[in-house]
């Protein structure tokens, strides 16, 4: 496959916080992690120098040159919620974009230069984007894969938050009920 870059090579460096060691309590979490810059970071580059291997997408069907599409800069390399929003640069003549996985399966097809993919279990996912012309021919593609790691929040975070939430909710209802009862009691027995 022959790629023609329409723009000079751009190096995208994605930063995301690495997993934080251990559950040290909500307050520790809350008081220690606001500074993202200080946290260890995972860096993923998609400029071709150290990114994932080019698995090759043939443009034999079109037989023409394919422009290179650049991924957006703010795509996280690691997500904990099971969803990711992928963005890429607009291709002027594109009628439609497709997001494809390593097997070539189309995961998203749309007219805007953005895709939202959700419901992903733990794992590592590889995506590429191709732009199609009005006749359905590929006219551009991302030269390298985008790699996204999904690692859901551990239950040691989930269970305490659920319990705290339940307690706060019951407390609010309890206070309102007690308050209303107090008013009624006062009105009957001032």
């Amino acid at each position: 496959m022959r790629l023609r870059r329409s723009t000079p090579p751009i190096r995208f460096v994605l930063r995301a916080t690495a997993s934080r060691p251990g559950w040290l309590g909500l307050f520790l979490l809350m008081t220690t992690t606001i500074g993202f810059a200080d946290a260890p970071a995972i860096q993923t580059s998609i400029d071709g120098s150290s990114g994932s291997d080019d698995v090759g997408f043939s443009d034999e069907a079109s037989g023409g040159e394919l422009q290179a599409i650049a991924f957006g800069e703010d795509i996280p390399s690691r997500v904990r919620e099971g969803y990711v929003s992928i963005t890429w640069a607009d291709v002027p003549d594109a009628a439609r974009y497709e997001v494809i996985d390593r097997n070539g399966s189309v995961l998203h097809s749309g007219v805007f230069s953005q895709a939202f993919i959700s419901g992903l279990p733990d794992g590592i996912y590889h995506y590429r984007v191709r732009a199609l012309s009005g006749t359905g021919e590929p006219i551009a593609i991302t030269p390298k894969e985008l790699e996204v790691e999904v690692s859901h929040w551990p239950y040691r975070y989930v269970v305490p938050l659920l319990l705290v939430g339940l307690f706060v909710m019951l407390s609010v209802v309890g206070v309102i009920v007690a308050g209303q009862r107090g008013i009624v009691t006062k009105e009957v027995h001032p």
Partner: protein, 492 residues
């Protein structure tokens, strides 16, 4: 044909979008002028003569709570967080249920009140009212901006109308009719809008269910997006109580709900809010299903907050797009107008008036309200133009602050010992903790952490520095009001 799909892949043509915009703009402004013709005094403009009956009161509660957040964020929640996401969104109705008894208490304690900040100022003094005013304004503007953004996004997704044009028209129309009619116009248009929204949602739900197989949706999700069906989806479980507490905080603190409590006839509030909650409860389930159906239908979603309208419109074609357009436009307008009116009151009553040395006449306050509404509209426009973030990230940024107001309001309404120090400390520390959680964990935990921390601080500080508040002091003197306003709304 005007309804034909746009050339850029949108479901309605831009011409159809512009025609719909024009029709509904004229309709809302016309109705606003008609209903608002008696809003000559500040009392009429801000609390509609304090005589709103049950039907209008219930309708305005439903319409205001069915915001673009319900029609656009509930499907987004489902697409992001699966079945739990849709259910989590339903819990927002619990906020209306919880506020029902509180609204009766508010009306009784402050028969001449106007705003939530006024209550906090009388209850806790400056120590409590300054942080509360900042949070209230921040939240109101955030909500207003997210609604304005939703308007622009909706029109762009459905008809390709440029985002900037769509959001400007939606906001401009709401500013116009709120400016002329105040709370009269807001409640009157809310009644019509709530009817349109509910009928529209029922039609969309029936139409979608006849075209989509539940089994197919389930199968696709299980194969391609299994976490959306997972009972133990971590982020969804973390968000469950967060959304509920966010809703509690939103309703308890926001002047949108307080101004309605003041506007309702005595005894109406508790019934209206409870009924409103019941009517609202199934709406996020219907809207959420649209989000879950998107993968099975092969609809590519670019921005998750547009999934609901996009799925309905794709499934139902031009007619569906038309229906969605109308429903979402109504839900947007019913929230934007409420925010403009309630926040305008807050600016006049709690910022401008206290700054004046002498007494301010009713007519002067009425004029100030108009200026405040225009100013708020201009501010929201300026902030919405950059189209920053999704609706959820914009709105949920206010979540921790809103969640931390919950306890000062509930405690302040019912317990004499709730003190100014406790109110102030709980709002500040709760907001800070929630914001840290927002950045450290995610938006889906911020309100929960804020409310929990605020609660602990509030209880501890009230025990250390208890107050002995006299609730009778809240019943202020009778304000001047235009007698022509009295009893006007419920008879229209």
């Amino acid at each position: 044909m005007i309804m034909a799909a746009g050339s850029d892949g949108t479901i309605l043509s831009a011409e159809a979008g512009y025609v719909l915009l024009a029709v509904f703009s004229v309709l809302w402004i016309g109705l606003g002028l008609w209903w608002g013709r008696k809003a000559k005094s500040f009392d009429g403009f801000s609390v509609a003569g304090r005589n709103v009956g049950l039907a209008l009161a219930t309708a305005t509660a439903v319409a205001t709570w069915i915001t673009s957040n319900t029609t656009m964020l509930a499907p987004q929640f489902a697409l992001q967080l699966g079945v739990w996401g849709a259910l989590a969104y339903c819990t927002a109705s619990f906020g209306l249920f919880a506020f029902a008894p509180m609204s009766g208490r508010i009306r009784k304690l402050m028969p001449n009140g106007y705003t939530a900040v006024e209550f906090v100022r009388q209850r806790y003094g400056k120590l409590g009212s300054v942080p509360f005013l900042i949070i209230s304004l921040f939240y109101a503007i955030t909500w207003l901006v997210s609604m304005t953004m939703a308007g622009g996004k909706l029109l762009h997704v459905l008809s390709g109308i440029p985002y900037e044009v769509g959001m400007t028209v939606v906001l401009g129309v709401c500013v116009m009719y709120t400016l002329f009619g105040g709370m009269y116009a807001v409640i009157g248009t809310d009644f019509i809008q709530s009817l349109i929204i509910l009928v529209g949602l029922v039609v969309v739900a029936i139409a979608v269910l006849t075209q989509v197989s539940l089994g197919e949706v389930h199968h696709t999700l299980q194969e391609e997006r299994p976490m959306l069906l997972d009972v133990f989806f971590p982020a969804a479980l973390m968000a469950l109580f967060n959304n509920m507490l966010f809703a509690f905080g939103e309703i308890f603190h926001s002047n949108v709900w307080w101004s309605r409590a003041f506007a309702m006839r005595e005894g109406v509030g508790p019934k209206a809010y409870a009924l409103g909650g019941l009517i609202w409860l199934p709406v996020p389930v219907v809207a959420g299903f649209l989000g879950l159906a998107a993968p099975a239908l092969g609809i590519g979603i670019s921005q998750p907050d547009t999934v609901g309208p996009l799925v309905a419109a794709t499934l139902l074609g031009s007619g569906g797009a038309l229906m969605v357009f109308i429903v979402v436009f109504c839900s947007l307008a019913s929230s934007i107008d409420s925010l403009l009116a309630a926040t305008g009151d807050l600016i006049v009553n709690d910022m401008a008036e206290p700054l004046c040395a002498g007494a301010v006449s009713d007519q002067t306050k009425r004029r100030w309200s108009s200026v405040a509404v225009i100013g708020l509209g201009a501010l929201a426009w300026g902030l919405a133009i950059p189209n920053y973030g999704t609706l959820a990230t914009v709105l949920f940024f206010a979540g921790p602050m809103v969640g931390s107001c919950l306890w000062p309001i509930v405690g302040g309404l019912y317990f004499r010992k709730a003190s100014p120090v406790a109110a102030c400390a709980s709002m500040i520390i709760g907001s800070a903790a929630g914001l840290i959680a927002y950045y450290a964990i995610g938006w889906f935990t911020a309100s929960l952490i804020g409310a929990a921390t605020s609660g602990m601080v509030f209880v501890a500080a009230s025990m250390i520095w208890p107050d002995e508040f006299d609730f009778d002091s809240l019943a202020g003197p009778v304000t001047s009001s235009d007698s022509a306003d009295e009893g006007a709304v419920d008879e229209q």
